[in-house]
C-alpha cells in the first residue's frame, strides 16, 4: 500500500458519481418538464453547470449541513431588455413552489427547489436564469438574473458566461491522466474545504475560485497526487496580500481571483468577492495550515504516520490501510464522560 493508493481510494470514496446519483438528474428533468409545460415561460434550453457540469463534485458531508445539489442553467430564448430580472424567477418559483414539501425559494443567483427526506432537508436543484442580449444570436452575451425581493438594490442583469466557464475548465487538459489528476486534486481541496469552513453564508471559499486557481497553476505529477495537491495549495497561498482593512480597522489578508479575461463575465468579477475581509483572512490562515500539514506529510518518513496525518487532514473517509492503527481523531474524547456527570 502506498500514499498514492490511499489517495486514489480516498478519491473513489468522495467522488460524486452522478450515474449512481441519477435521481438528482431525474428530479432535474421532472422540474424542467414542469417548467416547459407550464406555458408561463418563454422557451429555453438547459445547461448543466457547476460541479456537475465539470465532474468535480464530492459527496456532501451531512454532518456539516451540506446537501447534494445540481446547478441547472435555464437559457431563455428571450432578450434581457424585455424582462425585469425578478419576473422570470418569480414565475419559476410560483410554478415549482408546491412541487416539494419544502417548496421553491428565490435566492440571489437562482431559484432553489429543496427536497426533504425523513423530515429534514436532503438535496436541492438550483435553477439559474439567463437571457440573451439578442436571443437571435446565440453567441451574444448572456445575462444572469440577479437578486431577490428582500434586497432590491441587488436586483439586476449581470453579464455571465456559464458555457464558456465550463468549457474553459474542461478543455484545459487534453490528456486523460492529467485531467483525472486535476479533478482528484480539486476534490481533495473541496473535501478539505467542507471540513474546515462553515457551510452557512459565504465563510467557505467558492469552489469556482479554487478551481480557477488550480486550472492556471496545476502541474501534472505522475503517480504523485500529494505533490500535485501541495503545488495548488501553495499557489492559492501566493494569491493573498496583506492590506489595511478600513471596516475592521485592522491589517488583514485578502484574496482576489478575477474571471478569465477571455470569458464574458462582468469585468472585475471576483470569485471570492462574497467573502468578507475577516473570512478571507480566515481562509489565509487555514490554507497556511493546510500547506504546513501537507508538507509535514511529505517530510514524514514513516508511512503509517503519513496515513495518520492525512486522515487528520481529510477526515474519516481517508482510510488508513492497517485498521489496528486507525487514528480515530474525531471520536477521541480528551474529557471523557463522567460517571457522575451532571450538566454535560
Amino acid at each position: 500500500m502506498s500514499v498514492q493508493k490511499c489517495f486514489s481510494d480516498f478519491n473513489d470514496k468522495i467522488k460524486l458519481d452522478y450515474s449512481t446519483k441519477s435521481d438528482l438528474a431525474d428530479k432535474r428533468d421532472i422540474l424542467v418538464e414542469k417548467l416547459r409545460k407550464s406555458g408561463q415561460l418563454p422557451s429555453f434550453s438547459t445547461y448543466d453547470q457547476g460541479s456537475y457540469g465539470m465532474s468535480l463534485g464530492v459527496e456532501p458531508l451531512k454532518k456539516t449541513g451540506r446537501e447534494y445539489d445540481i446547478d441547472v442553467g435555464l437559457i431563455f430564448n428571450a432578450n434581457k431588455d424585455d424582462y425585469e430580472p425578478l419576473k422570470l424567477k418569480e414565475t419559476i418559483q410560483t410554478i415549482l413552489n408546491n412541487h416539494t414539501t419544502y417548496g421553491a425559494t428565490i435566492k440571489r443567483p437562482c431559484v432553489t427547489v429543496t427536497y426533504m427526506e425523513d423530515g429534514k432537508r436532503d438535496h436541492h436543484v438550483d435553477f439559474v436564469v439567463y437571457l440573451y442580449e439578442d436571443h437571435e444570436d446565440k453567441d451574444s452575451q448572456l445575462y444572469l438574473a440577479k437578486g431577490k425581493a428582500s434586497t432590491p438594490d441587488e436586483i439586476g442583469w449581470e453579464k455571465s458566461d456559464p458555457k464558456g466557464l465550463v468549457q474553459y475548465i474542461n478543455d484545459r487538459f487534453t490528456k486523460k491522466e492529467e485531467r483525472s489528476q486535476f479533478r482528484r486534486v480539486i476534490r481533495y481541496i473541496k473535501r478539505w474545504k467542507n471540513l474546515r469552513f462553515d457551510s452557512n453564508g459565504h465563510a467557505e471559499p467558492s469552489s469556482i475560485g479554487i478551481t480557477l486557481i488550480a486550472v492556471e497553476s496545476f502541474v501534472y505529477r505522475e503517480g504523485d497526487d500529494l505533490t500535485a495537491l501541495l503545488d495548488v495549495a501553495k499557489q492559492i497561498q501566493k494569491l493573498f496580500y496583506y492590506t489595511y482593512d478600513y471596516d475592521t480597522m485592522r491589517w488583514l489578508y485578502k484574496i482576489k481571483k478575477s474571471m478569465p479575461e477571455q470569458l464574458k463575465f462582468e469585468s472585475n468579477t471576483d470569485a471570492f468577492g462574497k467573502m468578507t475581509s475577516v473570512q478571507q483572512n480566515d481562509f489565509k490562515l487555514k490554507i497556511d495550515k493546510f500547506v504546513k500539514d501537507l508538507e509535514e506529510v511529505k517530510d514524514e518518513t514513516d508511512e503509517q504516520e503519513q496515513y495518520k496525518k492525512l486522515r487528520k487532514i481529510f477526515g474519516e473517509d481517508f482510510i488508513i490501510p492497517d485498521p489496528q492503527n486507525s487514528y480515530r481523531h474525531q471520536n477521541h474524547n480528551y474529557i471523557p464522560a463522567s460517571s457522575t456527570s451532571g450538566c454535560v
Binding site: V278, D282, H332, T340, C343
Partner: protein, 584 residues
C-alpha cells in the same frame, strides 16, 4: 511553556471558529490566564464573539470560555453572570493532558450550549439549575433553611443573624453581613445555636403545571415573578393567612412538572394581601424592595440525599459499647440515615483514648455515652439518641424486655465474654432481632464481624471450638496464633489494652454498616462470620504469629456462613462435616 501556535492550529481546523486573535493582555475580568484568544463562534445564522482563556492549571480546571457580549444574547442556561460558559461537570472526571484536544472539545461543547440556548428547548435545563441561577442575582441574602417535612404552605419562623465586622475579618463567613435561619419549628434554631428574635415567615409551596423558569439575573426581578408564584399556590386557611400577612420573608418551594424541586426566597418590605381574584399577591407600592434570598437547605432529607443512602429513619438501633468502634459506629449510623439510636456503655473517655476515638480532648472524663450523645446531637439534625451509662449486664437485667423494640443490635465491645452473654440473652429470651458483633484483631491483622439472627443456623457460640487434645476453648476465627499474649499495659491490670490503630476500627465499622444495611433490606439470608484480613506487617514485626485461619484465608474479605465455618473446622481436623442439608 504554553504553545499558543498549537492551540491556534487546533482551532483553525474547526469550521465554526473564525477570526482568531491572540490578545495581548492575559487578564479577563479579575482572572489571570496564560493566554486569551478572541474569536467568533459561528452558529447557523449568528456570529458569537467569544474568548477562549487558558489558565495555568488547565490540567485541573480545563479551559474557560466567555461570551464577549452576553448582554446582546437572550438569557440562556449554562452561562454565568460574567458570560462564562459552564462547559463540563468535572466532578470525578479524569482528563487527557492534550491541551489542543481539550480546547477543541471545550469549543465544541460551547457551540452546543449556545445552539441549545438560542434555538432549542431550554426549559428543563433552566429548571434543573434554577437555584444556581438564583445565586447569580445581585445583592442576595443567604438563608439556611430546614424545609418542612410536609410540603404544605404554612407559617415558618426565621431568625436573623448579623455578622460582626471582626468575624468577617477572620473570613469565617462568605462575605455576607446578614444571614437568616428558617424552619417550621424552633428546635432547629436551638440546634443551630441561633436564638432570640424569631419572626414569622411564609413557606409557600408552588405546584407548577408548566415550567417556572428562573428570572434573568442580568435584570431586576419584576414583582410579577413573585406574584405569579403566589397565584400558583394552593389556598391557605384564614388562620395561616393572619400569621403570614405581615411576613417579610417568603420561601418558595417550587415543584416543577419534571419532579425537580427548587427552593428560592425573597425579602419584601410590603404586605401580602388577597387580590380581587382571590389570589395572594404582593401589591405594588412606592418604595417596595424585593431582595432575593438564596436558600441553603439544611433539612435532613436534603442533607442525606448526598449520600445516596436509603432512608432508614425510624429504625431503632442498639449499640453496645461506645469505645473506638462504638464511637465511629454511632457516627456512621447517623451518616447512613439512622436517627434513633441507643448507646450503652459504662466507661469514661480518657486522654489515652483520644487517638483512636471519634471524640477528643473536650470530652475527656465524660461518660462516653453522654459525650457521644452530645457530639451527635450538636452536629446532626433531628436525632433521637438515648444514652445509658450502665454496665451491660446491669442494663441487660433491667432492660431485657426493651430489647425487643430494636430493629438491630450491634455489639462493639470486642469482648467475647460480653458478647457471649448477649448471645445467651438473645437465645434464652427467644428474641428475634439480628445482632452484629464487631471486633478488631490486634495491630494490623484485621477485623471480624459476626452476623447472627435467630432465623438462620448457628449463633455466636459457633465461633468457638475446643482443642481436641486439651479440650480448651478457643476462638476458631482468631487471626492470632493461640498461646500468645498480645495485650499491653502501661499501668498494670487496670490499664490493659489490645493495641490497634484508629483505622482498624474504621474498617470494622465500614464492614458492619455494609452488613447492617443488607440485613435491614432483607439481603442477608444466613448467619455469617465476615473476616477482613489486614497486611499483618506490624503484627509480625512485633514478633507475633498469625493463625492458620489467617494464613489460609486467600481473599482480603472472607464471608463464611456459620455452617461453612463449622465444616471448615471439621475438615481441618478431619472430622466429618455437618451435612444438614444447608447450603451457604
Amino acid at each position: 511553556m504554553l504553545d499558543v501556535d498549537k492551540i491556534i492550529s487546533a482551532l483553525l481546523d474547526l469550521p465554526y471558529i473564525s477570526d482568531i486573535q491572540n490578545r495581548k493582555t492575559n487578564r479577563r475580568g479579575t482572572e489571570m490566564y496564560e493566554c486569551v484568544l478572541d474569536c467568533d463562534l459561528l452558529l447557523v445564522e449568528k456570529h458569537i464573539p467569544i474568548s477562549i482563556c487558558i489558565p495555568e492549571n488547565w490540567r485541573i480546571s480545563l479551559v474557560d470560555i466567555y461570551l464577549q457580549r452576553y448582554e446582546d444574547l437572550p438569557f440562556m442556561p449554562h452561562v454565568e453572570a460574567n458570560g462564562k460558559l459552564c462547559l463540563f461537570n468535572l466532578e470525578g472526571v479524569n482528563i487527557d493532558y492534550n491541551l489542543p484536544g481539550i480546547v477543541e472539545q471545550c469549543v465544541t461543547r460551547a457551540k452546543k450550549i449556545l445552539e441549545q440556548g438560542l434555538f432549542g428547548d431550554v426549559n428543563e435545563e433552566f429548571v434543573n439549575e434554577f437555584d444556581a441561577y438564583w445565586e447569580f442575582l445581585p445583592d442576595t441574602i443567604l438563608m439556611h433553611f430546614s424545609l418542612p417535612k410536609e410540603r404544605k404552605s404554612q407559617r415558618i419562623s426565621y431568625v436573623q443573624k448579623v455578622i460582626q465586622s471582626k468575624d468577617s475579618g477572620k473570613r469565617r463567613y462568605c462575605a455576607k453581613t446578614k444571614i437568616l435561619y428558617g424552619a417550621e419549628d424552633s428546635s432547629y434554631f436551638q440546634w443551630r445555636g441561633v436564638k432570640n428574635g424569631e419572626r414569622n415567615g411564609f413557606y409557600c409551596v408552588v405546584c407548577a403545571d408548566h415550567y417556572i423558569l428562573p428570572p434573568d439575573f442580568r435584570k431586576p426581578i419584576p414583582l410579577s415573578f413573585f406574584n405569579r408564584l403566589l397565584s400558583n399556590m394552593d389556598p391557605i386557611s384564614d388562620l395561616v393567612f393572619k400569621k403570614i400577612a405581615d411576613a417579610k420573608i417568603i420561601v418558595f418551594n417550587i415543584l416543577q412538572p419534571n419532579g425537580v424541586e427548587n427552593c428560592i426566597g425573597v425579602q419584601i418590605n410590603g404586605k401580602i394581601i388577597y387580590n380581587a381574584q382571590g389570589a395572594l399577591e404582593i401589591p405594588e407600592k412606592s418604595g417596595l424592595t424585593l431582595t432575593p434570598v438564596v436558600i441553603h437547605r439544611e433539612d435532613k432529607e436534603f442533607l442525606l440525599a448526598r449520600t445516596e443512602s436509603t432512608n432508614h429513619s425510624g429504625k431503632k438501633i442498639l449499640v453496645i459499647g461506645a469505645g473506638s468502634i462504638g464511637g465511629y459506629m454511632c457516627q456512621e449510623l447517623v451518616h447512613t440515615g439512622f436517627d434513633n439510636i441507643e448507646i450503652v456503655d459504662h466507661d469514661c473517655l480518657k486522654m489515652e483514648n483520644i487517638y483512636r476515638h471519634l471524640l477528643g480532648r473536650e470530652f475527656v472524663d465524660w461518660r462516653k455515652v453522654f459525650a457521644l450523645k452530645e457530639y451527635l446531637m450538636n452536629n446532626y439534625p433531628k436525632l433521637n439518641i438515648v444514652a445509658s451509662d450502665q454496665k451491660l449486664d446491669e442494663w441487660i437485667d433491667d432492660e431485657a424486655k426493651r430489647v425487643r423494640q430494636f430493629d438491630l443490635i450491634i455489639s462493639t465491645v470486642g469482648d467475647h465474654k460480653v458478647n457471649r452473654s448477649l448471645n445467651e440473652l438473645i437465645i434464652n429470651n427467644n428474641i428475634d432481632i439480628p445482632v452484629i458483633y464487631a471486633w478488631n484483631e490486634p495491630l494490623d491483622i484485621g477485623c471480624h464481624i459476626a452476623v447472627i439472627s435467630k432465623k438462620y443456623y448457628g449463633n455466636y457460640e459457633c465461633l468457638f471450638a475446643r482443642d481436641s487434645i486439651t479440650n480448651e476453648l478457643y476462638d476458631a476465627v482468631a487471626y492470632t496464633k493461640p498461646g500468645q499474649t498480645v495485650s499491653k499495659s502501661f499501668s498494670g491490670c487496670n490499664g490493659t489494652f489490645i493495641p490497634y490503630g484508629s483505622i482498624a476500627s474504621m474498617k470494622t465499622v465500614a464492614l458492619s454498616i455494609e452488613w447492617l444495611i443488607r440485613i435491614l433490606e432483607d439481603r442477608c439470608e444466613d448467619n455469617y462470620i465476615i473476616s477482613e484480613k489486614g497486611s499483618g506487617y506490624y503484627f509480625r514485626k512485633a514478633g507475633f504469629e498469625t493463625s492458620d485461619f489467617y494464613n489460609d484465608q486467600k481473599d482480603t474479605v472472607s464471608i463464611l456462613s456459620i455452617l461453612e465455618l463449622e465444616n471448615l473446622r471439621k475438615s481441618n481436623s478431619n472430622e466429618p462435616s455437618n451435612n444438614s442439608g444447608r447450603t451457604a
